[in-house]
C-alpha cells in the first residue's frame, strides 16, 4: 500500500470522526439548549408536584356571635373509569352509599374516554368514609371544604351562598368574597419512586379568609321571618318584606323576606325567591312618602303643624282628579291631621305650596333616587323622575307616593333619620371584618331637630288616632305611617286589584330604639297598610322591645296598664 493511499484513509477516518463528533455536539446543543426547558419540566414533573393548599373560608357571625355561614370538611369522590373493573357492581354500590342515581353513575364509570370523572363533589364525609372502606378499584377521594348554613333559612336572601368552588355567588357571600376567601398556599413536593412525599421544596403558607361580623341579630331576624310568614299566609299575599333598623347607628338588626329558602339547597330554589327585596326591589310607597312632602313644607317654614287648610274631598291637577281614600265632605284639617288621616288632597295642597322644584330637592335630600350605600350587592337607587321629565299631573301623584319607586331600605332609612333627630345614617349590615375596627357610617343632617321632633309628634298621632291604630304596642309610644299603593298595571295605569300595603314605624317614640318597616305585596281580602302591615309591625315591635338589651323600658305605662286591665 502506498503512503499516499494510507494518508487518504487516515484523512477519511478523521473526517468520519469529525462528522460523528459534530453531529453529537449538535444533538447535545439541541437537547440542552433548545429543548432544555421542556425536558426539564418533564423531569421535574416525574419527581416533584405543585400542590395548592386551599385557604379556609371565613365564618359569618351575627352580632351575638352565632355562626350564620361556616366552612366544613367534605369528601369529593372521583373515579378513573379506565381502572374500574366491574362498573355495574361498583355503580350500584356507589349510588347506594352516596344516594345517587345508579344509572347516572354507571354511565360515568363506563365512559373510558376520560381518565377522571367526578362521582360526587363535596359528599357527606360519613358516607364517603363508608365507601372508602370498600376499597373499590378506580375510585379516589380527596378532602374539600364546603359551605354550610347552620341556620338554614335564616336571613338566606341576605347572606346569599357560595358555589361548589367555594366562591360567593349571591348576597354577602358575593360582596365579601375577597375578604372571606383568603389566599391559598402553595407547596412543591418532592416524591420518591412510589409517589410518597419525601421533601417540601418551596412553601407558601395559606392565609385563611377573614371572619365577618354582621349587625344582624338572629333572634330578631327569626322573629321577623316568622311574623312575615304568618302575614303572607293570612293575607294570601305574594310576598312580604321587613326591615328592623337601629336609627342611631344605621345598624340593620333584621332584613327579612317571605317566602324564604334554605341556603343549603340553593340550586333547587327559584331565583325570584333568592332576591333580597329590601335592597334590590322597588315599589311605589304610597302614603308613607307623604312624610317627605310634609317635612319639606315644615323645613321651608311654609307651614307649622297647626296650620289649617280647608280641603275638599277631591282636587284637580292638570288632567287628573285625585281624591282621598274615604269619601268625606269639605273639611278643615291641620298639617298634623293631613298626615294622621293620610289625606291625599292635603298632601297635594302642601306640595303645591312647596313648589315642584323644592319638592324635587327634598326628595333627593331624603336619599330617594340615590343608592343608600348599604353594604349589599345589587342595590337599586329607585326610580325618581328628573324634574325636566315631570308632567303637569306629577305634582298630583308624586307627593302622595305614586309615580315614584323606592326601595324598602331607602324608606326605612328616611324614617330612621326623623327618629334620629334629623340625622340620616348610612344603613349597614357589616359590623366589622376580622380583627379590624368597625368604621363609623356616613351621616348627614337632612332636617333640623325641631322639624324632626314635630314630625315625630305627627307620626305618633297616626298610631294614636289615625290610620295606624293597629300598630300600637302596649306600654310603648309608637310613631309611624301607613301606606297603600296600587301597583302599576302592565297595560298602563294602575291595577284595581293589586296593591302594596306597608307600615313604617318608630319605637319607643320618646327614645327611639328601632325603626321597623313592613311591606306586603299583593295581599288579598284587605289592601290597607293599616290593616295588613300595621299588625305585623306591632308583632315584630312587641317581641323586639322585650328582647332588646333584656327589655326596653316602656315609655307609655298608662297604655300598658289600660291594656292589662282590659285583658280578661
Amino acid at each position: 500500500m502506498s503512503a499516499k493511499a494510507s494518508n487518504r484513509r487516515i484523512r477519511l477516518l478523521l473526517g468520519v470522526f469529525v462528522l460523528a463528533f459534530g453531529l453529537t455536539f449538535l444533538r447535545a446543543a439541541w437537547l440542552q439548549g433548545v429543548r432544555a426547558a421542556s425536558f426539564g419540566r418533564l423531569a421535574s414533573s416525574q419527581h416533584s408536584e405543585d400542590v395548592v393548599i386551599p385557604a379556609a373560608r371565613g365564618t359569618i357571625y351575627d352580632r351575638t356571635g352565632l355562626q350564620l355561614a361556616i366552612g366544613e370538611q367534605a369528601q369529593t369522590v372521583y373515579a378513573d373509569p379506565r381502572q374500574v373493573t366491574d362498573p355495574k357492581t361498583e355503580s350500584t354500590t356507589i349510588a347506594q352509599a352516596l344516594k345517587l342515581d345508579p344509572n347516572q353513575v354507571y354511565q360515568e364509570l363506563t365512559d373510558r374516554t376520560h381518565g377522571f370523572v367526578y362521582v360526587k363533589r363535596k359528599a357527606d364525609p360519613a358516607q364517603a368514609a363508608k365507601l372508602e372502606k370498600r376499597g373499590l378499584p378506580g375510585l379516589g377521594f380527596y378532602a374539600e371544604e364546603r359551605r354550610f348554613y347552620p341556620q338554614f333559612s335564616l336571613a338566606s336572601q341576605l347572606i346569599g351562598y357560595a358555589g361548589v368552588d367555594n366562591h360567593g355567588l349571591a348576597g354577602l357571600e358575593l360582596s365579601l368574597d375577597k375578604q372571606l376567601a383568603g389566599r391559598p398556599g402553595r407547596e412543591r413536593i418532592v416524591k420518591d419512586a412510589s409517589g410518597q412525599a419525601i421533601d417540601t421544596v418551596v412553601s407558601q403558607p395559606e392565609r385563611d379568609g377573614s371572619d365577618v361580623y354582621l349587625t344582624l341579630d338572629h333572634t330578631i331576624q327569626a322573629n321577623a321571618q316568622t311574623v312575615l310568614r304568618d302575614t303572607v299566609a293570612k293575607w294570601h299575599a305574594k310576598s312580604a318584606t321587613a326591615i328592623v333598623l337601629d336609627p342611631a347607628t344605621g345598624a340593620v338588626r333584621a332584613m327579612a323576606t317571605a317566602p324564604g329558602f334554605d341556603a343549603n339547597s340553593y340550586p333547587q330554589v327559584w331565583r325570584v325567591l333568592q332576591r333580597n327585596r329590601a335592597v334590590t326591589d322597588t315599589y311605589e310607597p304610597g302614603s308613607t312618602f307623604k312624610l317627605v312632602t310634609v317635612a319639606g313644607a315644615l323645613s321651608e317654614r311654609l307651614v307649622s303643624p297647626s296650620t289649617t287648610f280647608t280641603l275638599p274631598y277631591y282636587i284637580h291637577v292638570a288632567d287628573r282628579t285625585i281624591h282621598d281614600a274615604e269619601p268625606r265632605g269639605t273639611e278643615t284639617m291641620s298639617v298634623s291631621q293631613i298626615l294622621s288621616r293620610s289625606s291625599n288632597v292635603g298632601a297635594i295642597t302642601l306640595a303645591e305650596k312647596l313648589s315642584q322644584h323644592r319638592l324635587v330637592q327634598w326628595i333627593s335630600r331624603f336619599g330617594f333616587g340615590h343608592l343608600t350605600g348599604i353594604d349589599f350587592p345589587g342595590e337599586s337607587p329607585g326610580i325618581v323622575l328628573p324634574e325636566d321629565k315631570w308632567s303637569g299631573s306629577s305634582i298630583g301623584n308624586i307627593p302622595i307616593g305614586q309615580g315614584i319607586a323606592v326601595t324598602p331600605i331607602q324608606m326605612a332609612s328616611a324614617y330612621a333619620a326623623i327618629a334620629n333627630r334629623g340625622v340620616w345614617v348610612r344603613p349597614h349590615l357589616v359590623e366589622r371584618i376580622g380583627a379590624s375596627a368597625s368604621t363609623r357610617p356616613t351621616r348627614r343632617r337632612i332636617v333640623s331637630p325641631w322639624v324632626a321632633s314635630e314630625l315625630m309628634a305627627m307620626l305618633k298621632n297616626v298610631v294614636a288616632e289615625g290610620t295606624g291604630t293597629l300598630a300600637a304596642v302596649p306600654g310603648y309610644q309608637v310613631a309611624g305611617k301607613t301606606g297603600t299603593a296600587a301597583k302599576p298595571d302592565p297595560q298602563g295605569g294602575y291595577s284595581d286589584t293589586r296593591y302594596v300595603a306597608s307600615f313604617v314605624g318608630v319605637v319607643p317614640a320618646s327614645r327611639p330604639r328601632l325603626v321597623i318597616l313592613v311591606s306586603v305585596d299583593e295581599p288579598r281580602g284587605a289592601i290597607w297598610g293599616g290593616v295588613v302591615a300595621a299588625p305585623a309591625f306591632a308583632e315584630i315591635a312587641k317581641f323586639d322591645l322585650q328582647y332588646l338589651d333584656g327589655g326596653v323600658p316602656p315609655d307609655a305605662p298608662t297604655t300598658a296598664t289600660a291594656s292589662a286591665t282590659a285583658t280578661p
Binding site: 379556609a56 365564618t59 352565632l66 355562626q67 350564620l68 361556616i70 366552612g71 366544613e72 370538611q73 364525609p125 378532602a143 371544604e145 354550610f148 347552620p150 341556620q151 335564616l154 410518597q196 412525599a197 419525601i198 421533601d199 417540601t200 338572629h218 333572634t219 327569626a222 322573629n223 316568622t226 304596642v473 302596649p474 306600654g475 310603648y476 312587641k542 317581641f543 322591645l545 322585650q546 327589655g551 323600658p553 316602656p554 300598658a560 296598664t561 291594656s563 292589662a564 285583658t567
Partner: protein, 127 residues
C-alpha cells in the same frame, strides 16, 4: 643477622580502613513514611466514611421528619374537619329560636306579656 621474624616485609601499613559508615538503609527509612501515609489514608477514609454516614443519617432523619410532618398534616386536617363539624353542630343547636321552641314544647315556656311586665325604676342614690 637474620632474624626470624615472621614479619613480613614491611609493607606500608595500610591505612586503617575507616569503617564504612552504617548508612540508614533506604527501606527502614521508607517504612515509617509509608506507615504514616497509610495511617493518614485510613484517617481520611474514616473521616470520609463518618461524613458519608453523617450525610446519610441526616438525610434519613430529614426523611423521617418529612414523613412525620406529612402524618401531622393529615392529623391536623382531620382535627380541623372535626372542629368544623362540631362548630356546625354547635351553631345549629345554639340558635335561640330553636332553644325557645324546645322550651315551649318541653317545659311550656310562655312569652311574657309586655303589658304585664313591670319595670322597677331605681331611685337615684341619695347624696
Amino acid at each position: 643477622m637474620a632474624s626470624w621474624s615472621d614479619a613480613a616485609p614491611s609493607l606500608p601499613s595500610p591505612q586503617p580502613r575507616s569503617r564504612p559508615r552504617s548508612r540508614p538503609r533506604p527501606a527502614p527509612r521508607r517504612r515509617p513514611q509509608a506507615r504514616r501515609g497509610v495511617a493518614g489514608g485510613v484517617v481520611w477514609i474514616a473521616i470520609v466514611a463518618v461524613l458519608l454516614a453523617g450525610v446519610v443519617a441526616l438525610n434519613v432523619a430529614v426523611l423521617r421528619l418529612n414523613v412525620q410532618l406529612d402524618k401531622l398534616d393529615t392529623q391536623r386536617a382531620h382535627l380541623r374537619a372535626e372542629k368544623q363539624a362540631l362548630a356546625s353542630q354547635l351553631a345549629m343547636t345554639a340558635a335561640s329560636p330553636r332553644i325557645q321552641l324546645q322550651a315551649q314544647k318541653q317545659f311550656g315556656l310562655v312569652p311574657a306579656n309586655p303589658a304585664e311586665t313591670t319595670y322597677v325604676r331605681l331611685r337615684p342614690r341619695s347624696r
